[in-house]
Symmetry: D2
Subunit: 109 residues, 4 copies
């Protein structure tokens, strides 16, 4: 049974294929597009204080949600193009982080 | 039954809580960190040709996988902090994109 | 006699002061804004081939020039806020680069 | 008489030419590298409060100065490659900004 992620990945493949956009979707270009979308996400927060960023109104929150989706869609496409499983990669990195930042030595740091 | 994503999100919450890092994880800061990780990902591709980026060797591919994981982990934390469901947001954005870029009018463009 | 750069820096100070924007111009925020503008600049190139990026038409070139200006204006403000002289910093870094990348050992690499 | 900026630009041309790096310096690639360096600059500030970013110690300030130089060097090269005069572009954009943000209507906003 396909998971939500697997269905998203397949739909993104179909979306690009039907538009003949695969030619533009080199990993180099997808990584650029991902970085640009991450900056558009950051733009919403650049002049806010941290406290303001913790209490967004519903309208701003919806806008930010759209930018988060843009980042996610490019991340999925880039990972798919490189044959990388997002969940596996995330799990591996969390193990690395747990060793790199032992809880008892990095408390509040 | 919790999905892989839900388990990842919970584990990220626990990871931050046990280290008392929630104080640093304002959406403003998480959006910055996400953007920085996206650039570290892009760095691997900046001097490659597009063709080279399509045929990474196994070592480079593993490094890129680690950067992809970093982006994903911050994206999950930012979305969680804002109460945004990544899958729902992605689905909504794909519907918008389908209307914005009709297949018959954007073929190969 | 003030140089072009010194005059620009002074005008940027006046621009911010008269609008009472200094409160927003923490180095943290200026670094975010700089990063966002750099991404807006990159956005113009993300789907172009390298060859296309080397032969921009006049309209695209003008748009890119505006983004380059945005990056420069934030860079000037951030450097000014931190008391860093851009020309001196650039000169120092070029010396470092010359040692790090000896011409005879990095030819074409 | 050549200005500081003109000398920097010429030295950057020589630096790239003697290493045969011009082949890598497409505007697309330079814009990527600029964006990556801007993120490395941002990285120094991502977990700092705004107040902390306003009072960097000398060591951190020196590190930030090096990142600022990296951004500046790529900006100079990209502008040079596109035949754009940084000072002129900055002046033009400041005029646009002055009209877009009238001082009496944007005070403290």
């Amino acid at each position: 049974m396909a998971t939500d992620l697997q269905r998203l990945i397949q739909d993104l493949r179909d979306f690009a294929e039907i538009r003949d956009w695969e030619q533009f979707h080199s990993p180099k270009n997808l990584a650029s597009a991902l970085s640009v979308e991450a900056a558009e996400l950051l733009e919403h927060f650049q002049w806010l204080t941290e406290a303001q960023s913790r209490s967004l109104g519903p309208e701003k929150r919806a806008e930010v949600g759209t930018e988060i989706a843009d980042v996610f869609l490019y991340l999925l496409q880039l990972a798919d193009k490189l044959g990388i499983d997002l969940i596996d990669a995330a799990r591996s990195k969390m193990l690395v982080n747990a060793q790199k930042y032992p809880a008892d030595k990095t408390h509040g740091l």
